[in-house]
């Protein structure tokens, strides 16, 4: 997995986030009050308008105090009944069908079947659940208003906020149950699809030449489109090599004069590695300290590059390195990006080296070499016993770690080639967390997205008709998933101009890099675009960025979802739900439901 931003620490995030939430809330309240007063003043005069607003605010406070859990739960129960009546279970049926026929469409020859299957089930669940949430939430309240069933609700002591909240809770309950069942099925599906074993091809077993231990090597049978090579020691135990991200343990069992070989289940397929990240700094090609490496002019600004065969280096400093935490040495994992200024041998990666250094004394280990390929996780085990460049023995913890800190210096060895790195690209695999728990955490991410769609759907349905509310929610969803792109267009970072300019380019079949001819038309177009673009910036700023709530890539690539990321997701979702609730309340309260 390649991160595209630094991992967020919840403790650093919460205070600014809370401040920004309060500022936005205060701004929205002020806009609502002033806007409301202007409209009321226009209708009832300056004093009458003020009276209306005063009573509105007072009523709002009273409504908040009068919120009744029993009423909210009653309305939630009604929403659940309504969902069941609207055949929400059909959605689950579709999910089962997708799972049943998934095998037809998924690439069984994939190098990384775990990633493939996990991202498939998680993505399928996400889209299906969001779609169901969208339909349920957007049509419910408008249907009640259209059928006049709302009359018997609003003539009871029910507050508008309770109607909105009750619906959100009810649909969230349905979504939760659906997600739980889908999660269980997905889990069983993934485990069962990936589980396999092989037979040992006994005829292929040969003693390893010149092996002092007397190991034998051979290969396994073909299963799930791959086979392994294996090595068995004289004690009858051994293991296979890593293929498609897993290996098997092999044991020989003697029964009489016959030897049978048992190949165990796949291991290492479904993992949740917990990375320990370090702080990154650079040295430029002249060896001077620098915050960033070289920019190679690519769009992806998060990574910066280290030039080959110069003094340029990327240096990570890791803290809290103790023998208790890493008794077997440091398990280093890297996903290094590659930028070539000439093609070279494209089949071969770019060579790099790592050196461990004591940040205080400056003592260094000898170089460990690696070959970097794009989008590929490289493993490097740094043992406890090392040697320095002169060949003298070193102990990792005694000689290279000082105050629990150690530095890892990375260098690119091929001249005029570049290695791209960022903070998250080299880490220590501190431990492996439970895959099952990680899977559940990824479903929590989907749950949060479901809650957001439900809240948005109910919010829009308080003032729009069913189909329009659905379109508005869908638009928010698409904008939320494509927030990065829309913001790029709005800020002018993406070539081709704003919506009007792009449209003109499409009509004229003009490419995105040529300038428009200067003149009145271009001026008008640019002006119209600037209006559109500021509107787009505002909208993307207001809507939730749905990608932020997705944990699919973590789970699919075998990384533990950081608890901080989960907290950030839950808290930011709560902010949006509160906002949707407040807006929904305001619209429903000021709406004449009998019209």
């Amino acid at each position: 997995m390649v991160l595209d931003s630094d991992p967020v620490a919840f403790s650093n995030w919460i205070v600014p986030a809370l401040l920004s939430f309060l500022t936005s809330a205060a701004t929205l309240c002020a806009v609502a009050l002033v806007g409301g007063y202007l409209i009321s003043a226009f209708r009832y005069g300056p004093v009458g308008g003020g009276d209306v607003i005063y009573r509105m605010v007072l009523g709002g406070v009273r409504d908040l105090i009068a919120l009744s859990p029993r009423r909210i739960l009653a309305l939630a129960w009604l929403a659940v009944q309504e969902s069941l009546r609207r055949r929400v279970l059909v959605g689950f049926g579709i999910f089962l069908l997708i799972l049943l026929f998934a095998g037809w469409f998924l690439d069984t020859q994939s190098n990384d079947p775990a990633t493939l299957y996990l991202s498939f089930v998680l993505t399928a669940t996400t889209y299906l659940v969001l779609l169901i949430a969208l339909f349920l939430s957007a049509f419910s309240l408008p249907a009640d208003i259209k059928n006049h069933t709302i009359y018997t609700i609003v003539t009871k002591p029910v507050r508008s906020g309770e109607i909105v909240l009750g619906r959100i809770v009810g649909f969230a309950v349905i979504g939760t149950v659906l997600l739980a069942v889908m999660g269980l099925f997905s889990y069983v599906f993934v485990i069962r699809v990936l589980n396999h074993t092989h037979e040992v091809d006994v005829a292929s077993l040969r003693p390893v030449p010149n092996d002092p231990n007397g190991d034998r090597a051979g290969r396994t049978s073909l299963a799930q489109n791959h086979r392994h090579t294996l090595k068995i020691g004289p004690d009858g135990t051994g293991s296979t090599d890593m293929v498609q991200g897993h290996f098997h343990e092999v044991t020989a069992q003697e029964s009489g004069d016959k030897t049978t070989y048992v190949v165990g289940p796949p291991q290492g397929l479904l993992t949740a590695r917990v990375p320990a990240y370090g702080d990154l700094r650079f040295k430029d090609r002249a060896g001077k300290a620098s915050d960033r490496g070289i920019s190679v002019g690519k769009e992806w600004k998060y990574h910066s590059y280290v030039e080959g065969a110069t003094l340029a280096k990327a240096i990570w400093t890791f803290s809290d390195i103790t023998p208790e935490r890493f008794p077997d040495g440091l398990p280093v994992e890297m996903t290094i990006r590659v930028f070539r200024s000439y093609k070279g041998d494209i089949e071969k990666g770019i060579r790099g080296s790592l050196v461990l250094k004591n940040p205080r004394t400056g003592r260094a280990s000898d170089e460990k070499f690696f070959i970097a390929k794009d989008f590929y996780i490289d493993f490097l085990k740094i043992p406890r016993n090392l040697t320095d460049p002169t060949g003298k023995p070193l102990d990792l913890f005694d000689d290279l770690v000082s105050d629990g800190q150690v530095e890892v210096w990375m260098q690119c060895l091929d001249a005029s080639q570049y290695l791209g790195v960022a903070k998250g690209d080299l880490y220590l695999r501190s431990r492996d967390a439970s895959f099952t728990l990680n899977f559940i955490k990824s479903y929590l991410g989907i749950w949060v997205q479901m809650l957001l769609v439900t809240s948005l759907g109910v919010m829009f349905s308080t003032f729009l008709s069913g189909p329009v509310a659905m379109m508005a929610t869908l638009a928010s969803l698409v904008l939320g998933f494509k927030a990065q792109f829309v913001l790029g267009v709005a800020k002018g970072a993406i070539e081709g101009g704003g919506p009007v300019e792009s449209f003109i380019r499409i009509v004229k079949q003009q490419n995105v890099t040529t300038q428009l001819e200067p003149g009145l038309t271009t001026t008008v177009v640019k002006w119209a675009d600037s209006v559109f673009m500021s509107f787009m910036t505002a909208i993307t700023g207001l809507l939730p960025n749905f990608n932020q709530f997705s944990n699919v890539s973590y789970v699919a690539h075998g990384f533990d979802i950081p608890p901080d990321a989960v907290l950030v997701q839950v808290f930011s979702a709560a902010g949006y739900v509160i906002a949707a609730l407040a807006i929904g309340y305001l619209f429903l309260r000021t709406r004449e439901v009998a019209r």
Binding site: R70, Q81, T149, Y151, V154, P157, E592, A594
Partner: protein
């Protein structure tokens, strides 16, 4: 004098289109007072503004000008609903629930504890005679049954004020009779009833006072008995008179012979009164009919 439960002051409602242009003046400067313990009927042809009045009083619509007060509070104040029951024109209930679930649900909206809800639901199902059908989904209900359940939900909170929109529509003659008896029973319990209906005989049977609306204007307001009184005629009902006595009836009146059982003003039917007001209003729009209450 009894407490005023419902009051409208200069209540007006104008329906506007999306652009704010006036479409219909549904209600024009309505002044009404309904006192505790009376049965008040709102009459009027289709589109006369009676349902608009009820919706304004319930807070389902907001007045364009004027005020609608229920229990002395603004009609848009949700807390008034604690003491109010409403039976809509059609029984707008959730078709996927059964009678017990429906009443339980509405009971929860009044924040009633479980035990109270159970007791109250059972009583009301019994009262409206749906005991045999209480576990059937409402989509299987006939119109009359849905109407009865609609009434039961309106009474779930034992309200002080009950607003009934066309209470007898969809009911058979027996059901109609039972509904009217029930309305009278509610009055006997000291409750206030505001009803609107097209069925004039029903209104005549139960209402103490009525208001007749036409084209959004109040045309008539008063006690039913006094409104229906025909003042320039006298009706005599007698019993036990022989043929000769009957022949002498005119002289009997003159000379005060024979026993006169009743001698008062005969009444017309509400239907005739209603039609004459509507005809009069159409002939002379904007003019209030005779004031006599």
């Amino acid at each position: 004098m009894a407490e005023v439960i419902v009051e409208t002051r200069n209540l007006s409602k104008v329906y506007r289109d999306f652009w704010g242009r006036q479409k219909v003046r549904a209600l024009k400067a309505l002044d009404l007072e309904i006192r505790q313990g009376e049965i008040f009927g709102l009459l009027g042809p289709n589109g006369s503004g009676k349902t608009t009045t009820i919706k304004l009083l319930l807070g389902l619509l907001f007045p364009t000008s004027g005020q609608a007060l229920v229990f002395g509070r603004d009609a848009t104040d949700v807390s008034k609903n604690e003491r109010l029951g409403y039976l809509p024109e059609e029984s707008y209930l959730y078709r996927f629930l059964n009678a017990e679930e429906t009443l339980d649900f509405y009971g929860r909206l009044f924040d009633m504890p479980t035990a109270v809800r159970k007791k109250r639901s059972a009583e009301l199902i019994d009262l409206v005679g749906l005991n045999l059908a209480k576990r059937r989904q409402l989509k299987e209900y006939s119109k009359g049954m849905a109407r009865r359940l609609g009434l039961a939900q309106a009474l779930i909170n034992d309200p002080e004020l009950i607003m009934l929109d066309e209470p007898t529509s969809g009911l058979d003659p027996i059901g109609t009779r039972e509904m009217k008896d029930l309305i009278l029973k509610l009055k006997a319990q000291g409750k206030t009833v505001l009803m609107c209906s097209h069925l004039l005989a029903d209104v005549q049977d139960v209402c103490d006072r009525i208001a007749i609306l036409h084209q959004g204007e109040l045309k008539e307001l008063g006690r039913v008995d006094s409104l229906l009184k025909v003042r320039d005629e006298t009706q005599i009902r007698a019993k036990g008179l022989s043929e000769s006595a009957q022949a002498e009836i005119r002289s009997v009146i003159e000379r005060h012979h024979g026993s006169v059982l009743t001698m008062d003003n005969p009444t017309t039917t509400l239907e005739e009164l209603f039609l004459s007001i509507v005809r009069d209003s159409e002939a002379r729009p904007g003019r209030r009919a005779k004031q006599d209450n």
